[in-house]
């Protein structure tokens, strides 16, 4: 990974989120895969935020081409996203994104009838521009505003050509 050039670190809360992220990563263009890295799981949404504050804020300041995606479960808590966003300093807000399943990723499996990494892969395909409705599912649609920022800032790093709206 070339830290001088735009790159994305994904910090997953748990193993299920890791599998979603890995599936997404597999569908990134093969010559751009080293622009993204899925980090070891943090072990809980609180741990994601703690790790972000203790380690990653300083590193984001050190590497201006670094972006981060925090993958946390919302556990049906409507305040979870706001709590997470509050941890992000204003000067880094443009480079940090928070995504997550409304409840938890395991609930996606029966909803889509797919393993988690295949769901992650299909979510990536929708980001690439393929038609699809997965991001609009009840368990994921609350990510719309963060996704819109991702589409503008991160997808051009990962996918050749301009990513389309969905």
């Amino acid at each position: 990974m070339n830290k001088e050039r735009p790159h994305i670190l994904v910090l997953p809360e748990d193993d299920a989120n890791r599998q979603l992220a890995n599936g997404f990563h597999r569908r990134v263009d093969w010559d751009r895969q080293r622009r993204m890295q899925v980090l070891p799981v943090a072990g809980g949404w609180n741990e994601v935020l703690s790790l972000f504050v203790s380690d990653h804020i300083r590193l984001l300041e050190l590497w201006p081409s670094r972006f981060m995606v925090l993958l946390i479960d919302h556990d049906n808590d409507p305040q979870r996203l706001m709590r997470a966003l509050k941890k992000i300093p204003n000067h880094l807000r443009d480079r940090v994104f928070v995504l997550g399943v409304l409840s938890e990723p395991e609930d996606l499996k029966p909803a889509f009838q797919l393993p988690l990494d295949e769901i992650g892969a299909e979510l990536a395909e929708e980001c690439r521009g393929d038609a699809g409705e997965k991001w609009g599912h009840n368990l994921l649609k609350h990510n719309a505003s963060e996704l819109d920022r991702l589409r503008q800032q991160l997808f051009p790093i990962l996918f050749a050509g301009e990513a389309q709206a969905y």
Partner: protein, 388 residues
Amino acid sequence: MQNHFRPGGRGVYDSRVIRRLYVNNYRCLENFELPVAGKQSVLLIGKNGSGKTTVGRVLRIFQRIAQGTNRVGELVKPRELARQRSDAPMRFELEVQLNGQIYSYTLVFEFPKGFKELRVQEEGLKVDGHPVYTRELAQVHIVRPGEVQGPSFRIDWHLVALPIIQDETQGDPLFVFKQWLGRMLVLRPVPTGMRGASEHDDETLQPLPFVSNYGAWFSGLIAHAPSAYSKIDTYLKQVMPDLKDIQNPTVGEGSRSLLVQFSNKQGTISLPFQSLSDGEKCFMVCALVLATADVFKPLLCYWDEPDNYLALDEVGFFALALRKAFESGGQFIGTSHNPEAIRQFSDETTLLLFRKSHLEPTVIRPVSELQVTGDLVGALIRGDVEPQ
């Protein structure tokens, strides 16, 4: 979705290759079936001695047969009967899907009293359920469409028939099956033994398991498919950004030797292949695997511990590149003990091999069917991952 993959909506590819691999009474594998049907890539994990490498040995037996080794004693030994059990046959069954057709190959050995080596008890190849040939002990029957009774002949029961039976054309099922088997990649690279030199007459598309013939493989692949160089170059420039190019100049009559050129603002340096580090040689192997997967679809690649010799920050990308390369056709089977490699695979594509003792056979289960508490890697470190 199980059997077809739609990469970026660009069309439907052939399904994954191996539908069934069954082994009985060979080393630690008894009544063993590898659950890889419909999977683009899988990772075999498990303790030392659980049978991960033995799966590669089985694939290598099939491959050597397709490449022409037909003497039973050169393929399997009596001591490889599970727990030296000579009263039961050693059985290998492979079912693969190629060009939309199902090829089923069965090979059974037995070890009668008084024999010094195993002999063939049963052998046969079917395509879509129709026999191409059948065999019992020494008697081989060729089955031809439209003929009530095809030709028969007898063969030494210490020889496997598949390499001997003449295929008629390139579309002949025997040719298709043997070519595919022979072109599998069954790898366990040992960087210190890899040679960048090659002779013109040993150019090959078939690397040896330890990849000691790297130079010959590189030469053979580029001669067969010059466009493969672009894939090799693109991949290697990702992992070694100062790579300029790879040259394979003639160094004597009929010989070539790989040179790897690096350059930056300070200048250029040209290194013989042997001077690369062990990890860099593994990048070179990976580059050829990725290129081969593009050239020969659908390719099967088994790589025993691909993460050996790699820096920690490279392992994840390495595993990811291999998984990605087989998404559009073929199958990748890896083994690993490395947490970063294990984290690249999902619960459904991570297969745990487990053996309670040397007196018991290997069992295999996808991690998705196990009760794992918390993080898989943590559970593996604690020794807490076992099939119920």
